[in-house]
Symmetry: C2
Subunit: 297 residues, 2 copies
């Protein structure tokens, strides 16, 4: 499966609406234009009216049923209203504009109008990597610093939810560690073993979890067989659960900067997908993220 | 600099001798043959005499001044004698054969005849990556599980020693974290800041340390400038210090399996370099590791 395919399938689905918080941002409007041109979503732009409409003009866009501007006075108002648009059913996805992540998350976690589920929120990235015919999901490379066992279980479930929405019926999940054996001096291997058993006991659903696995054993059948590791996940993992944010972040960036992989990412675990693109993301990866979010609804 | 160049320069240097511990291993003899054919080292093979000479025959090799078999009864005897060959000055590099890493390290750390320096031993990997004209060193992806600040300082110094032997006069060192700012909730960022200051104060020598840096800010000038990060290391790092073994191992394997990078690796921190290749390494990477070790003497 390629990211291009995710985009293509999004165009054929019932049209979803993305609520953008603080839309007065040139790069966000650029991504909005690409998504509109591809026909993958409609947008409600919550933000500074003058600056947003000026940016729409610059990008050759005009308001329509698919593209509405809702004037807001300040970024936190934009965030609150964008989240409310989703919780009230008028929109399907929240997307971050010119507002800090903490302000968006505060609105998402608001007890009255937010999108809480009680589960941890986590970052799910889908990579298209040369030489791999499936998407490889990496989680969590960006939100949870040092998740404990219960949080890791939620993080897996969040990624499984996204992968299943994209058609991976029973995702294979590898808790990634530095070695493929349980080593009492390496806590990540103990968590990996526990997560595998939680999966066997039905505490983590709709997927197959088998770890500990080192990255090579998780993604290369040859490396797995070299080590004599069998099982349904070894060499065939769809989802790589990293043990901490340092591992996830280095793996994520190694894929982008060294392996030149393509990526889209979404925050999962709330009642609706959240798109938190960053300034450093390419326009292409922002579009991928919007498509991924639309498909994850 | 390419790994091919490391090999080439090794052929032009004074010939070094590698003491192989437990040489009765087909893959090790294959690597020995490649190194002999390239003329990058001489070998003393400590191991089972019958099996070693049979393997030499299989590979079309015969004993000579450059290739001697020293009969040993058991792997631990082979390890002890190989280490003694180096500590007594008869050889320059220790290389692991058909013996466990723990047995080799026990011999290396032996108080009477070992190669202790008081410093931590650490794994230094040199990667040749498409699109990068310099080698990128990753440390420590394999030995130290969760190094503390003092150990990280040693690990940097060990990698700096290797890089300098290869001609990188003042290596640029990036302590890799998930973010480029000091964040009290992320211990790796505190260590990164402390290591940078230890370098300013002359506690870590012959290099420039500047962190915390995320991987993208460390290796991409564009990503660094996008974040407004200046300094001599940002975007130009030679050495990536990872905060824990999970990060290092995932980064190492991502480079091999996703970015298809070439690698050689050596254990640094003892009185002599140690080559610990593993069964999963390709013949090419074993040769790279021997060349790296020979050049690190």
């Amino acid at each position: 499966m390629h990211l291009e395919q995710i985009i293509e399938e999004a165009t054929r689905m019932p049209n979803r609406t993305v609520a953008v918080a603080a839309s007065e941002d040139s790069e966000v409007i650029h991504a909005v234009k690409m998504a509109i041109d591809k026909g993958i979503a409609s947008f409600q732009l919550f933000g500074d009216e003058d600056r947003t409409t000026a940016l729409l003009n610059e990008h050759g866009l005009q308001q329509s049923d698919q593209l509405k501007v809702i004037p807001c006075q300040a970024p936190d108002e934009s965030a609150a209203k964008a989240v409310q648009a989703v919780s009230s059913g008028n929109a399907d996805v929240v997307m971050k504009g010119m507002v800090s992540t903490s302000v968006i998350l505060k609105a998402v976690l608001n007890k009255e109008f937010g999108l809480r589920t009680g589960k941890v929120l986590s970052h799910v990235a889908a990579f298209e990597i040369d030489g791999f015919d499936r998407l490889i999901f990496v989680t969590d490379a960006a939100m949870n610093i040092a998740p404990d066992l219960k949080q890791k279980a939620d993080i897996i479930q969040n990624a499984v939810d996204v992968a299943r929405k994209l058609g991976v019926e029973t995702p294979k999940v590898a808790p990634i560690t530095a070695v493929e054996v349980v080593n009492p001096s390496m806590e990540a291997t103990l968590d990996a073993a526990a997560l595998s058993q939680m999966n066997s006991r039905g505490q983590i659903k709709d997927c197959i979890v088998d770890g500990p696995l080192a990255l090579d054993n998780a993604v290369s059948l040859e490396a797995a067989s070299h080590k004599g590791i069998s099982g349904e996940v070894a060499g065939q993992a769809d989802i790589l659960l990293v043990p901490n944010i340092e591992t996830g972040n280095a793996l994520y960036k190694s894929l982008i900067y060294f392996a030149r992989a393509k990526v889209g990412a979404v925050i999962s675990g709330a009642k609706a997908p959240i798109v938190l693109t960053s300034r450093a993301d390419t326009a292409e990866s922002k579009l991928n993220s919007i498509a991924l979010a639309v498909r994850s609804v």
